[in-house]
């Protein structure tokens, strides 16, 4: 998708960055399956480094911006439900992202045991599944709604503030 509003375009680019990290995590899980991967492998390390930093930081900033700046505006326009539904998904995603980040940092330092890998596998699997569905919903429903919601002046104001916060 491409969007005429800069705010929507920035959020779309965020989604693309998140998908790259999540997709790499998905590939790692698909390759390793039930056997814990070697954390000295450069590809495994790179994936875990991205997961330890990018997911947690990216989603917390992205979610906060959406909840504080966009959902509130949608609610003022009488469209309460998009924000309610996506807030619910944020509530599910944020602790998963934080848990995966913490486990990835621990694994980078100490490697995986069979037990820690099993926990990482389950938590990452849920994060990946929820994140892909969440991004699809935002791409299909939230970002197009911003095209109608934001006037040019508000769009510049919001997008500048969001870009500066990154």
């Amino acid at each position: 998708m491409s969007f005429t509003r800069r705010t929507a375009q920035l959020l779309h680019e965020d989604h693309q960055q998140t998908i790259i990290v999540i997709e790499a995590l998905d590939q790692l899980i698909a390759r390793a399956r039930k056997k814990a991967p070697d954390t000295n492998d450069p590809i495994v390390r790179k994936t875990l480094e991205n997961a330890s930093g990018a997911i947690e930081e990216e989603i917390s900033q992205h979610f906060a911006f959406e909840e504080n700046q966009l959902f509130t505006r949608l609610e003022e326009m009488g469209d309460v439900s998009i924000g309610e539904h996506l807030r619910g998904e944020h509530r599910a995603l944020l602790p998963l992202g934080q848990a995966v980040g913490t486990m990835a940092r621990t694994a980078l330092a100490n490697g995986f045991t069979d037990e820690s890998w099993a926990t990482f596998l389950n938590t990452s699997g849920e994060l990946i599944e929820r994140m892909f569905a969440h991004i699809q919903k935002e791409e299909m429903a939230l970002l197009p709604a911003l095209e109608d919601l934001l006037d040019a002046e508000t769009d510049i104001e919001l997008s500048t503030a969001y870009a500066d916060s990154h």
Binding site: H15, G78, S81, R91, E129, Q136, E139, D148
Partner: protein
């Protein structure tokens, strides 16, 4: 309506109550099962079928109206408001369309199977009224479209071709009684072409431009190839219809070239979307969707070979079978496999108040069973038609029944999970 159920909704109400799309989808799954069952019973007549009432015609309409059109209506009623960013003005016409279509298709197919003209006429009347309600509802939405005009234009083409195809269908059924139609085979082929390539094909081509990029999370496409695809498809349908109704066969080659052109633009865009996909593991739905594109190419190649005079045994039956069961049915099953759990997640309640996981809203086992049996059924029936072997068609149809039962199990499981969530009015 639940909190989740109001997603896409609120003031704009772009998410329909779950009952509307899901009753169309579940009914489509049941008619799908019935279509294979009737084909199994009529296996001896399939290879040599050249038109006329009987169980083969009934099976065709259980598939086209019962499965393909039901799916298309349910999907269109939900997807066009999202694509156009304009809510449907009312929900009751969706329920009304269903209430007319369900008995209409059942009665029409019953009448066709048993050569009962009155049942056919009544069934066709109810079905056409249901389709008309759908056409009016969707036209009203497309008229107010504010985004993605190329997809909305495909919707207009689909509605126009559906209207003409339904009109021709009614004419033929009344013509059986009155015996006034002189060019029945031309009308029948035009009816089939407008209903399949026209109505269903336009929706598949148009909604693919939105759905496939969303499924695979790919980069956006420029709109011009979409317009070229639409223009060539419309030209192909128009010239094809004129050539058959006017009995001027030379024009059909022009229609075929335009059809190849429209298909070429479509598949080129789909390939580009898949190349820029940010998801690597696309799963079983994309095995079905990719295979359906192969069947689309095969259909056009078979039509070309047939028109060029190549001796393909039972070519007409084979082309119809590959078109309906190969391309359209395979594609729609792949799409339903993806969108039913996705749509259900917006209505169903999850554990601990959190939104449910998509994997909790699907049924992988029945879907795998369906995919394996579906491909086996299409292959065996196709070979059986060419080889004129009823036994192969019977075995293929039996596998089709098993696969369709698997798909119906999936559809019912998803629908039940939606019902278990908070009521969605």
């Amino acid at each position: 309506m639940s909190m989740a159920g109001r997603f896409l909704g609120g003031a704009q109400d772009r998410l329909l109550p779950a009952a509307i799309p899901f009753r169309f989808f579940v009914t489509a799954a049941v008619f799908h099962l019935l279509a294979w069952m009737v084909l199994l019973l009529a296996a001896d007549e399939v290879a040599g079928f050249r038109g006329g009432t009987g169980p083969v015609l009934a099976a065709i309409h259980l598939l086209t109206l019962g499965t393909l059109a039901m799916t298309a209506i349910g999907a269109s009623l939900q997807l066009f408001p999202v694509v156009t960013r304009r809510a449907l003005t009312r929900n009751w016409p969706g329920h009304f369309s269903y209430a007319l279509m369900l008995p209409g298709v059942a009665l029409l197919s019953w009448g066709m199977a048993l050569h009962q003209t009155t049942a056919m006429q009544l069934g066709a009347g109810l079905t056409c009224c249901g389709l008309l309600v759908f056409v009016a509802l969707t036209a009203n939405n497309l008229r107010r479209a504010s985004s993605i005009p190329v997809v909305a234009a495909h919707g207009w083409l689909a509605l126009a071709t559906l209207f003409v195809a339904a009109l021709l269908g009614v004419l033929m059924i009344w013509g059986i009684e009155l015996n006034i139609l002189s060019n029945r085979s031309g009308l029948a082929i035009t009816h089939l072409t407008l209903a399949s390539y026209g109505f269903m094909g336009s929706l598949v081509l148009g909604l693919s431009l939105v759905l496939i990029p969303m499924f695979v999370l790919s980069r956006s496409l420029p709109p011009n190839p979409g317009w070229a695809q639409l223009g060539l498809t419309a030209l192909a349908l128009l010239v094809f219809s004129i050539s058959f109704v006017s009995e001027f066969p030379g024009l059909i080659w022009l229609a075929l070239i335009a059809g190849f052109g429209g298909t070429g633009f479509y598949l080129w865009q789909m390939a580009k979307i898949l190349r820029s996909s940010m998801r690597k593991r696309l799963g079983l739905p994309f095995v079905l969707i990719r295979a359906s594109w192969g069947f689309l190419i095969l259909t056009l190649l078979l039509v070309t070979a047939y028109l060029a005079g190549l001796a393909i045994p039972n070519a007409v039956s084979l082309i119809g079978f590959v078109l309906l069961a190969g391309w359209l049915l395979t594609f729609l099953c792949g799409v339903l496999h993806r969108i039913m759990p996705f749509l259900a997640s917006m209505h169903a309640a999850g554990k601990s108040g959190l939104p449910p996981l998509l994997s909790d809203l699907t049924a992988e086992g029945p879907l795998m069973l369906h995919a394996v049996c579906h491909f086996s059924a299409v292959t065996l029936c196709g070979i059986g038609i060419v080889a004129d072997q009823s036994l192969l068609i019977r075995i293929g149809s039996a596998l089709g029944v098993v696969g369709a039962a698997g798909f119906a199990t999936f559809a019912i499981i998803v629908a039940l999970k939606v019902r278990q969530g908070p009521r969605t009015s």
